[in-house]
Amino acid sequence: MSRLELISPEGLRIDGRRPNELRKLTAKVNVLSQADGSAYLEQGNTKVLAAVYGPGEPRQRSKVVHDRSFISVEFNIAPFSAGERRKRTKGDKRSLELAYTIKETFEAVVITTQFPRSQINIYLQVLQADGGTLPACINASTLALVNAGIPMLDYVCACSAGSIEKTPILDINYVEESSDSPDVTVAYLPKVGKVALLQMEARLHIDVFEKVVALGTDGCIEMRSKLDTVIRQGMQQLVNQLEQ
């Protein structure tokens, strides 16, 4: 099997990006009529739909917390989302772990103490997976939560980063992910300046690791301005209609 050249001699990656370039991001809010907040997000070829319901009456009595709201995340990956059709779409360990990770991330950022004894539901549907599923889901959830009018400390912006032959790269696509390149996912609160989530797989030397994490947080800061524009556009549209 010939080794795919992940970085060309000119320094371009297989999809033509430079190592520190994010993929094209397009997103829209208010896409679902029934949900309190909803967002559709495309990061490169990865496409995710997020819906938020809440805060509302808790449906799972056993999980009710007396002094704050609890967040429940359901993560679904469509069978047609990858190259090969998936047989098991729900309940597999990876999906459960992703849902749990996202829940933990947002429980620390959403100001849940304002809604005791209630439940916030986040539903995620991955329509196309081309690398960076977790960051895309986190970004989509952020948009949907802000769209639903749920108070948060800051935008949770997420980005994946890795390293190919000691060069840190930003926003990993599927091919780079499938190779043995390490995969670091960072979720950052850009205005607050704190890391909400840090996840890493495969081996990375400590010196390179620092650079990769720094690149990841830079990517997150850039992501925030893009997500912010999407929210403002959504709001401006409604405001224009209201006040014309």
Partner: protein
């Protein structure tokens, strides 16, 4: 069958505000979560804001995406879309979701189901009669799961749950009509929320965004606030808690009128316009240009009637 397509709308241009907000101008700024509003310490923080103490001086930061509103020294952020949070005295339309011990749980689209206690409703046989044990056991003869009712917010419990009451003749179980949901932001606070439109349709605009559209009830009915001197003791149990629509008495035209008004309200909500009785009437009149009521479901028709209604409102 005709299938129609409509192109997506272009996103409007956006201006992003940088730096500290000038609190003295009356311009409404849009802020997003994490954005700082002001570091001037003279302002108190209201809903949608938090104090970021990690910097010195502490900065008032937004937690929501919405407009900054300043009332004297209170700064708060009003979001465009949020779940209904009640106020005492609000008229709301709700749906019963649970029948419990001496109380019902009512879904009013807020962060928790509201509570309607047995002691807060009108019992048949007169307002003053005492509660009997048999009432508790027969709670479902008054309200059962799924019933739609209109009520007023009486108070709040300590954990923020609304306490409703229906202790007036206008409040009761709703019949002969349809239920429409609109964003709560679009319902403005007005003197009255019960409207009788000239087309023979009654509309109740709940402040929680739940709307009831029904055929106008004749005299002696429940929505008659203006009727003076009604004998309060003679609440007719049959009328108030009945589960029967006046099936035979509603003819096709009346049903179409109700459907037409529902579609008009849905169109106004879709175009994100404030909803009140005047604009509903204008929208209804504009919609008469489309004799087939189901045409009102088309996007371009919705746009058209909303625009016309809005124009009329402005000119009026």
């Amino acid at each position: 069958m005709q299938v129609s397509f409509s192109a997506p709308r272009a996103a409007p241009p956006v201006t992003v505000h940088h730096g500290d907000m000038d609190m003295d101008t009356d311009q409404t700024h849009i802020v997003t979560p994490g954005e700082s509003i002001t570091s001037d310490m003279q302002y108190m923080r209201g809903h949608g804001t938090r104090l970021d103490e990690s910097s010195d001086p502490p900065i008032l930061t937004s937690t929501l995406a919405g407009h900054v509103s300043r009332v004297n020294k209170l700064v708060s952020v009003k979001p465009l879309k949020a779940r209904y949070t009640g106020d005492i005295g609000d008229i709301v339309v709700g749906r019963i979701v649970d029948v419990g011990q001496k109380r019902w749980k009512v879904d009013i689209g807020s962060k928790g189901d509201a509570v309607l206690q047995l002691s807060s409703i009108n019992l048949p046989g007169g307002v003053q009669r005492r509660k009997l044990e048999s009432d508790e056991k027969q709670m479902r003869t008054f309200f059962a799961e799924g019933d739609v009712l209109v009520a007023e917010v009486q108070s709040f419990f300590a954990d923020g749950v609304c306490n409703l009451h229906t202790r007036s003749l206008n409040f009761c179980k709703l019949r002969n009509g349809s239920f429409v949901v609109v964003p709560p932001r679009l319902i403005q606070r007005t003197r009255s929320h019960f409207h009788s439109l000239p087309c023979g349709v009654d509309v109740i605009l709940g402040l929680n965004g739940y709307v009831w559209v029904s055929k106008t009830v004749r005299k002696g009915g429940r929505h008659n606030e203006t009727k003076v001197g009604l004998d309060e003791d003679a609440v007719d149990a049959e009328m108030v808690y009945s589960n029967k629509n006046e099936a035979s008495a509603i003819n096709k035209d009346e049903r179409l009128a109700v459907a037409r008004v529902c579609n008009c309200i849905a169109a106004l909500a879709h175009e994100f316009k404030y909803i009140n009785d005047t604009i509903i009437v204008y929208a209804y009149e504009a919609s008469l240009a489309y004799p087939d009521v189901q045409d009102l479901l088309k996007l371009n028709v919705m746009e058209h009637i909303t625009r016309e209604a809005y124009e009329q409102m402005k000119n009026a």
